[in-house]
Symmetry: C2
Subunit: 374 residues, 2 copies
């Protein structure tokens, strides 16, 4: 059961490219909350070597801003590619390219560091057993995710559909905000961070504010969610929070260690391998007949680039800030996407959106206030 739910959780992000029928803006933003384990493990080139020169605050702000901008534009790109018509490219090749791109950026960053600093204990690619032994849990999560993804590929996110049988899609978006609370609770328990009362209050507000901003005419159906649906949503929220917090714990355990090695470089190779297998199983004929890049457009390329960079940004925020900053950042990105959609696609903002945004910004203000007072 746990494995099923785990796969359910982990398949969410991989379904990003597949799940075209749903509201792309919401879906994509929301799925970000569930992907702290995926798409990370690299270091941006420009921040690779000289980071110690910059102040910590500047670096933290820069990576947070990068994550916010990348996350908000991710949803915009999906809507744009939707406007261009039906998706012609194969999802498995796109996923493969995202993993490959992250690998390439990671290697490029490492190469640059090796050239500047030489190969040291902190940046060498081969890892000792002692160090590898801290990775089993995220490694297992990746493995299970990729295995299950492979097994259920033909069913296109079967487990995601399974939860939709209990909770409809808009309700699922609403319930995903439970991730905010679970991340906060697990962050406190696992990383043993002290939070002031104001910061707890801020986190509850963040959850309430994000949910309010997403309210629409069908949102009330979430209240009719049966017991199984609630259990699933809570378990998924806990797994999602756990994955993010555990990853942060590993990164923070040895701060001097280069992030490319820390986030287990080999997992990217696994990612590429599994996605290659997925191409063989699912899209072999299509790729053979039409070519690997069939249906690719400029938007597709931008989406792949964005996904890869987002993964890197998540990883950087985990290293230089924490999961809490990541949650605030993705929440602001969600609001930002909605505001941008007004100008780009003529969307209408609801009163609930303004109220939710107000609550989210008060929450951010309180969080920083709580930090000063702590």
């Amino acid at each position: 059961m746990l494995i099923i739910l785990l796969s359910c959780l982990l398949s969410v992000r991989k379904c990003q490219f597949k799940d075209k029928e749903q509201d792309a803006v919401h879906d994509d933003i929301e799925s970000l909350r569930g992907k702290p384990l995926s798409g990370s493990g690299n270091s941006m080139v420009m921040l690779g070597g000289s980071s110690s020169v910059q102040s910590k605050w500047k670096r933290k702000s820069a990576v947070t801003l990068a994550l916010t901008v990348l996350t908000s534009s991710q949803a915009i790109l999906i809507v744009w590619s939707k406007r261009a018509g039906k998706y012609e490219y194969s999802v498995t090749t796109a996923n493969f390219l995202v993993e490959a791109l992250k690998c390439a950026i990671s290697l490029a960053a490492l190469a640059r560091i090796w050239r500047n600093e030489g190969v040291t204990e902190d940046n060498k690619l081969s890892t000792s057993w002692d160090e590898v032994s801290v990775y089993p849990i995220p490694a297992a999560l990746y493995l299970i995710k990729n295995l299950l993804q492979y097994c259920f590929l033909k069913y296109v996110c079967l487990w995601q559909y399974y939860i939709f049988a209990y909770v409809d899609a808009p309700g699922y978006q609403i319930l995903k905000n439970l991730n905010i609370i679970s991340t906060g609770v697990l962050f406190r328990i696992i990383l043993k961070k002290q939070w002031s009362e104001i910061q707890w209050a801020a986190f509850i507000l963040l959850c309430a504010g994000c949910t309010t901003a997403q309210l629409n005419s069908t949102s009330d159906r979430v209240l009719q969610t049966p017991f199984q649906g609630w259990v699933m949503a809570i378990v998924m929220a806990l797994l999602s929070g756990f994955a993010g917090v555990y990853t942060e714990a590993i990164i923070k355990k040895r701060p001097s260690r280069n992030i490319n090695v820390q986030k287990n470089f080999w997992l990217y190779v696994f990612g590429m391998a599994f996605n290659a297998m997925a191409i063989l199983v699912q899209d072999f004929d299509a790729v053979m007949n039409k070519g690997f890049f069939h249906g690719y457009s400029l938007i597709t390329v931008l989406m792949i680039l964005n996904h890869a960079l987002s993964g890197i940004a998540v990883s950087m925020v985990m290293k230089y800030a924490d999961n809490i900053v990541k949650v605030y950042s993705t929440s602001v990105a969600m609001l930002l996407t909605a505001v941008l959609s007004v100008f780009l696609f003529g969307f209408h903002l609801s009163l609930a959106f303004f109220l939710g945004s107000t609550v989210v910004f008060v929450a951010i203000y309180m969080h920083s206030l709580g930090k000063l007072q702590r």
Copy 2:
């Protein structure tokens, strides 16, 4: 223009008994926010003399609880009397009885105090010019309100309809939450109270939370409010806030003075006189032919009792606590009414209601936290 808007504001509460077409629950709760000037000026018998024995905190909690319970049950009573069918009694006689009852309770409290303590400088009914000179503004407000009410009686809240031309009724309920902000701002300016940053944040949240809790499918129309509507709503909010804060300033100016005299006893006599005139002009034939108490039911009696006691409770909260406590109290009463309505009338609570309630309770927690830290 100012007078028109003033009358608009002040007529809101008197329209309470008249305005039957609208959503009674919301309307009544909301109109409470607009009536800090009305329906007060007395002291509850049991708290009249021996209040100094009780601790300040206990007294403050008791009056706040009383206001919350009375306010929430007020709306329930209106729904109940609606369920019993059409209102048969005349509104003017009911208004008259509310004023008369407050006068009677006020006098009874004074009589009790005179018997126990003798007539002193603090509780005597006749006031010196020096003391009366602080009352002109609320006295003028009462006078204008009663005069305009008399003039426009035949049009049944003409000015309330005037604002509805710009803002529809549900939108009006939403916009009334601006009163929360205006009360906070004027409280800070006029009473020169120091607020911590957390308390400001809490007040913004209270406003956002109350509005969220009241969201429904038609709420988004408020965003289409034209400029005139916004100006009106803001002016009304400022007037409402000013009336409440000014009243508190007068009460707090001389804390030892008995509340029955402080709130200008004579205004109640004016209130009775004007309502008597209203009966003569509007319902003279009906009262003559059918009798003064025609159409009265147990619910009507309870409603009159509740309105009188609510007025007294508002006055007590102003004296022993402040306008801010009053705003929090009526906000909680609004939520309480909705919850009670689930059990009593089978209402359904929306997801927005739960989110709004969460934000309101976090706001209350933060306000108390801010108080401790100040």
